[in-house]
């Protein structure tokens, strides 16, 4: 009789544990769904930002900004020093 009571108690505990864990996992499902949504949003924002950074840093965009700021291509001659010339160090 004791054994039956003991087994019954175990079954009751297992049923309660099962219900509790199932219930908790459903709650966790909400967290997982939120995380999945956040990941998708971040990945999306990341792609959009990458494209905006690329557009802002493109040579075409930089050239337009430089021209707007008044920079022009220099036509001045460039003088270069011979690489083998000795230079006074002191």
């Amino acid at each position: 009789m004791k054994l039956i009571k003991f087994l019954f108690a175990i079954i009751v505990i297992l049923v309660i544990a099962n219900v509790t864990l199932t219930n908790r996992s459903v709650d966790e499902g909400v967290v997982v769904a939120d995380l999945t949504r956040d990941i998708a949003t971040l990945q999306n924002d990341n792609t959009i930002l990458k494209s905006q950074v690329a557009a802002a840093g493109s040579i075409g965009s930089l050239t337009a900004k430089l021209a707007e700021a008044g920079f022009t291509e220099s036509s001045a001659k460039i003088a270069s020093l011979s690489t083998v010339s000795s230079v006074a160090s002191r």
């Binding site: 792609t47 990458k50 494209s51």
Partner: protein
């Protein structure tokens, strides 16, 4: 009485049989279908498309990226405002564009066309908003347009996101990158250029997730879960340098205007690795609106079109003669004093000036056709053909662009064919083949496979090592032909344009264009190929102009353009003059 009970029993038995048969039908025959339908009610399938990989330059800037665009829709049961009110509020935020280049470049036509487009768009929207269910109002709207419309707070509007390819450097190298279109089943597919060649690397694989969900759409963690993992497309890192490409494109644009050429190409390669540092061709197209352009523009002419190289080919034949030891620097041409007869054909020099006893240096510097026939005769026709093949002609260069062709070499060679080929007439090559062949001279005799991609970046970066196609000529022979190419620049027709203080090796080439079976004296292909600095070259470059109008000669068109670009590149690479 007894028979009635029996009849009733049989009736029940028959009814029971029907029930058993019906149950068998549902539980055995229809079991899979029903369990599937039940699964569909509690399981959901999420498909996340893998994004397409980017193409980035050697200095880390993107040439091609993905850009989010949205389809603006309205879910009519959720719409509260009047259609006219919605359209009037949305319209100012939509950037309407006219795609047709003929209209877009004419301001008067553009204003009228835009007004017409605005009216049409408005009436289409009003018409759609009078329907029920879900309706589409506008396609391909940008992030900025979406954000502006969202601030209006109009109820019932939806934004469905998708991604398209964007080219931050505008149409820079469109014929290099190719474009992304749709295949027969509507899947995004790369066509031409890098998008075509590396389509499998660039394409992402969809992630498919099947799992049980509750009534609220949240996953049940104890339920069934099946995952087919996907991946984003891999990125391509090029040898191409953004700054070099920009210089080349700008100079080519100016060059086409200055010399009135119908088309032009500039290719720059690192002779040591075969890495393409820049590749530009004009006219080009906009890869985003590729459907508006003639399909003939889709192919990269540097790899998909053939031409006769003319005198630029002479350096290769002379290099072969040096390598075989059949011609030495102090040898003298004994047929160079007059036009040379081969059968019924007479070989003349380009300016009908003849130099008796010309040395190999004279032959290259003055681009002497008769002298080249003398060289070829010393080398022998079969041997010359062997070297032409060793330099990579008659086969694909191996460049990683989808549309590359390999112009076939003729199958039957006569004396006149050997003779004309020695000075680059009667033989067809592609620009990239010519660039690689001269690159072999710059690389001390070793032919490298031209390549655009230096590594493929996925979870890890996988480098594509430079590929040597073998030694075509010895380093000594390469040095000897380089010395002649230096003289061709120092003493040649285009010496005035050469960057001062730098030692440059190069050769001009002017070839008449064959039209309906004969050469048209007025139409030429002007080209210049060379490398700088001549010792330890940083780059080998080919400039090619088709049908230049200011002058038909390469020395007055392609060569100055080559030197102009080289001057900027030498400065860019921080190479100081040596003289």
């Amino acid at each position: 009485m007894h028979s009635r009970i029996q009849l009733l029993f049989l009736g029940f038995l028959f009814g029971l049989l029907l029930v058993i048969l019906r149950l068998s039908y549902w539980q055995i025959i229809k079991a899979d279908e029903l369990s599937g339908a039940a699964r569909d009610q509690y399981a959901s399938k999420d498909v996340v498309e893998g994004s397409r990989g980017s193409i980035i330059t050697a200095d880390g800037f993107p040439l091609v990226v993905n850009q989010a665009v949205y389809t603006l829709g309205a879910y009519m049961p959720g719409v509260e405002d009047k259609p006219t009110s919605i359209v009037d509020r949305i319209m100012p935020y939509l950037k309407l564009e006219i795609d047709d280049p003929a209209i877009a470049t004419d301001s008067a036509k553009l204003t009228v066309a835009l007004e017409e487009l605005k009216l049409n768009t408005k009436s289409t929207m009003l018409d759609r908003l009078s329907k029920t269910g879900y309706v589409t109002l506008a396609r391909s709207i940008s992030v900025e347009e979406k954000q502006a419309i969202e601030t209006l707070g109009i109820k019932g509007l939806t934004f469905d996101q998708s991604f398209i390819r964007e080219y931050p450097e505008a149409s820079m190298s469109a014929q290099l990158s190719g474009f992304v279109g749709r295949d027969d089943v509507g899947s995004a597919t790369g066509y031409f250029g890098l998008e075509g060649f590396y389509d499998r690397e660039l394409a992402g694989r969809s992630r498919i997730e099947k799992q049980e969900k509750d009534a609220g759409g949240n996953p049940l963690l104890i339920g069934d879960f099946n995952l087919m993992p996907g991946r984003d497309g891999r990125n391509l890192k090029l040898y191409l340098e953004r700054g070099t490409q920009y210089v080349v494109e700008e100079e080519l644009k100016k060059g086409l205007e200055r010399y009135g050429a119908s088309s032009g190409e500039v290719l720059v390669m690192d002779p040591k690795t075969g890495g393409i540092l820049a590749m530009a061709s004009l006219p080009s197209y906009d890869p985003v609106k590729f459907h508006l352009y003639d399909t003939s523009l889709y192919k990269n002419p540097a790899v998909a079109n053939s031409y006769e190289p003319g005198s630029t080919f002479k350096v290769l034949i002379m290099a072969a003669a040096f390598n075989e030891g059949v011609v030495k620097e102090d040898d003298q041409c004994d047929i160079c004093d007059a036009p040379y007869q081969i059968g019924k054909y007479k070989i003349k020099t380009w300016n009908e000036e003849y130099r008796p006893n010309a040395t190999p240096e004279d032959i290259i510097v003055h681009s002497d056709n008769v002298g080249m026939v003398w060289t070829q005769e010393r080398l022998g026709g079969e041997k010359m053909l062997e070297y032409i093949k060793k330099f990579g002609f008659g086969q694909k260069s191996g460049i990683d662009l989808q549309e590359e062709i390999a112009p076939a070499l003729r199958t039957k060679w006569g004396d006149i064919d050997y003779a004309t080929s020695s000075f680059g007439q009667g033989i067809a090559v592609t620009s990239v083949q010519m660039l690689a062949a001269v690159g072999a001279i710059a690389n001390r005799g070793v032919l490298m496979e031209p390549h655009l991609v230096q590594s493929v970046i996925g979870d890890t970066e996988v480098p594509i090592p430079p590929k040597s196609k073998g030694e075509v000529i010895s380093p000594e022979s390469a040095d000897r032909i380089t010395a002649l190419m230096i003289q061709a620049v120092e003493r040649g027709e285009a010496q005035w344009a050469k960057p001062k203080g730098y030692v440059v090796a190069g050769k001009t080439g002017t070839a008449q264009i064959a039209v309906e079976g004969h050469y048209d004296a007025e139409k030429t292909t002007a080209s210049f190929v060379g490398f700088a600095p001549a010792t330890n070259p940083k780059f080998v470059m080919l400039v090619k102009l088709s049908e230049p109008q200011s002058s038909q000669w390469a020395a007055e068109t392609a060569a100055p353009l080559w030197f102009g670009i080289a001057r900027k590149l030498l400065l860019r690479y921080n190479i100081a003059p040596t003289n």
